[in-house]
Symmetry: C2
């Protein structure tokens, strides 16, 4: 098997020089920005399992073929589909006023009349979990936990626990509905959506209707509650669920000339949340990996040694459904996946090159980031995730790297209506393309293994 | 009459020293921020003529009495009331997707089915005005004009022409509806509302349904149009109009001890648009003038020489209705209004002290800004407006000054859902109170006239 032939053909100075040359040219890249412009304009929002996501795939297939990639295809799968309906909330008493909210992905509906109830607030999901059910029964739960702004996105994992669990914990304690302070770091009046439980998880309970309040609205509610007032809220959510919709991953390749069975996988996700146009999440990633792969394609008319496979995953947002479908469909070939990575953290510049490879292959894997480091990135540790859609590959033993983007501002926009094209800096995007082209070129032209 | 006794009792060094002392103390002011917090939290949005505006008045009357002002009262008037309903827009073809909009104040309704039509774009209102009606007939007009960011707000007057006129010009040319790029300077995905024609103006025509697109949505529409595509949009607006609602100005005084009939008028407006909570527009102004007047009240147990009158105008946003009612009701006393000014430009620091007084009284009027200049403001010209609600007083010959705030960021927030408390910097607010307390103290304790 491939795993025992490690160390052959390392990254030579000559290869690295070629990669550096491609990166220099890519700093002038315009294709990535053109692609994200086209996708977010001509398709716009593209929720998993909807007709809009299908249009996004048709766009991708057409663009990838036009760019000259090989074996461009859709690999379909099914999934349950949730679509947003009306979403309204207001303080009924003591100080009547509307609130800005967004239903959480997968939320139950309130029914057409909505729900009215008294608010009971908790500082965290853990506090709700520890609460006496008597304090929650018949009430609307409000979890008021602030997300920490970080460069590496580590605040997000902590912050999403309440989004994932609030509806179910509230239901178990007899509550009516759940409200959370928006995950995200912006003080602008946008509510942040995002999936509760993955659609691929077995549903034990539907959960209560659940929504996020924008940060100023969470502040407002907290201010009123801290005055000792009893607050009643009316909530109306009318999302719809369909048991089975269609999605697919879109795949395109640059066939390898020497070892075509060996795969360097680079990914992004084609779906987006429905509120914005999915520019930073993840139109940017689509633009970056496609533009970078296109530069490798053009630089090597006879192809790289290994196959470069671009995977634009479907249905990432609702629970990595495309990622799971890919891993399952390609289970027999995963041993031939030499290395993999996804671009799905916005459009900020890359500041760290991380790996997750066999302990004694870290230096070899870091060699794939040599030019990324020349572009300003630091070497990172060996605990990379590789990106959300790398989960099942990673768990199957596929080595991954992370070209980690600066996420300082990412969660100001992510999963809100404000995720639109104008938030992307074309020069930062080109910087990403430069980093990715160097990584792809080195991974596809060296002969090393990392597992 | 007062106008002939100019030059008596100027601003003495002693008076100026006292004013400077009050200003120094006011830099620690917490009352203004407490007031704007209370108003925006306990009332929230307070659209002219609605029950919410009545609650804001009740709040103001209670707070002003509690603070110890005299003659606290409401002076009621009537006005037509417009209330927002549903507002939805989407591109139907070629690239179906929702758009973020906000109905303009006073807009006609589309009917429950909405309107669908092809878009015809113009770079400005002037271009629409010059257009052949044949190009507009049966279409949805889009005016894509960008507002200039300026410190002094001068970009706003230019930008609002399209907001005020688009619906009527479109109707006269046989168009179906009017869309404008939001007035405002933010690239965040908020649409900007604001009044079309003043509710006090005689209606010659109702105008077509009219709404503003957020800046990213205007960008999106422009991008698609500039690709040469024919764009069809569906628009749904269901506002309601009532012929007569109630509003009022709220008035509070510090009676003058020597010349009680002479009025130093300081204003702000109590109403707000319905989308945000009216924090920078104009909760800030309410906090600033009330807190500053309270400091004069506390500093002078026997009262200032002249009467200080705080006027919190109702129904400013829909056409200066409260301002007109005030000028009409107090017409006989306007000759006794020595000087007047309003705080209605957000919560930024004051950078200029302007006047509009008799030409040979400019130096005397600038003397009222001596401490404001010590706080960092420059002397401005003699063309001050004094603030929107000063219009009818100014036209009646009342001298005005402007404590001009830095409006660089004001139109990022103004008239959008994002006008919320968290956008106010408490230190900047206190800086405003310091400037205002010095102006009020000097104006109420000198014996000069400015007309
Ligand atoms: Zn993503
Ligand atoms: Zn996402
Ligand atoms: Zn105002
Ligand atoms: Zn206003």
């Amino acid at each position: 098997a491939l795993t025992v032939t490690a160390s052959a053909q390392p990254v030579t100075p000559a290869l690295q020089g070629e990669a550096a040359g491609l990166a220099q040219e890519a700093l002038q890249d315009e294709l990535a920005y053109e692609l994200v412009t086209s996708l977010t304009t001509e398709v716009g929002p593209r929720l998993a399992g909807t007709e809009a996501e299908a249009r996004a795939r048709a766009w991708a297939v057409a663009r990838l073929r036009e760019l000259g990639f090989s074996n461009v295809r859709e690999e379909p799968f099914e999934l349950p589909v949730w679509e947003r309906g009306l979403e309204q909330a207001s303080i009924v008493s003591p100080f009547p006023q509307p609130l800005v909210i967004s239903a959480l992905g997968g939320s139950a509906a309130t029914g057409p009349e909505g729900i009215t109830g008294e608010v009971v607030a908790f500082p965290s999901l853990a506090a709700l979990e520890q609460a006496d059910p008597a304090a929650v029964r018949g009430k609307i739960v409000f979890i008021d936990e602030v997300m920490t702004r970080t460069q590496d996105g580590s605040g997000y994992t902590v912050a999403t626990a309440k989004r994932r669990q609030a509806a179910y914990v509230t239901q178990a304690k007899g509550g009516l509905a759940a409200l959370i302070r928006s995950v995200g770091t912006s003080s602008h009046r946008f509510a942040h959506t995002g999936q509760m439980r993955r659609v691929t998880e077995v549903a034990e309970a539907e959960g209560v209707p659940a929504a996020a309040l924008s940060a100023p609205d969470a502040d407002q509610l907290q201010r009123i509650l801290s005055g000792g007032e009893s607050v009643r809220i009316h909530l109306l959510l009318t999302p719809e669920q369909r048991p089975a919709g269609k999605s697919a991953n879109v795949i395109a390749e640059i066939p390898g000339r020497e070892r075509p069975q060996e795969i360097v996988l680079v990914g992004a996700h084609i779906d987006s949340w429905d509120l914005g146009t999915g520019a930073v999440d993840d139109g940017a990633g689509v633009g970056i990996v496609v533009a970078a792969a296109k530069r490798v394609l053009d630089a090597l008319p006879e192809g790289p040694r290994r196959t470069v496979r671009v995977v634009l995953f479907g249905a990432e947002e609702v629970g990595l459904v495309g990622a799971k479908a890919y891993a399952s469909r390609h289970a027999d070939a995963l041993a031939n996946h030499v290395i993999a990575s996804e671009s799905d953290f916005g459009a900020g510049r890359i500041w760290r090159f991380e790996t997750r490879v066999r302990a004694d292959r870290v230096d070899a894997a870091q060699a794939l980031g040599a030019v990324v480091r020349q572009l300003g990135a630091a070497p990172g540790g060996n605990t990379a995730t590789g990106g959300p859609d790398m989960k099942y590959l990673r768990e199957a033993g596929v080595p991954v790297v992370g070209l980690k983007q600066n996420g300082w501002d990412y969660f100001d926009l992510h999963h809100t209506p404000n995720d639109t094209l104008d938030k992307i800096d074309p020069e930062d995007l080109a910087h990403n393309v430069a980093a990715w082209v160097s990584f792809i070129f080195l991974a596809a032209n060296s002969g090393e293994y990392y597992r």
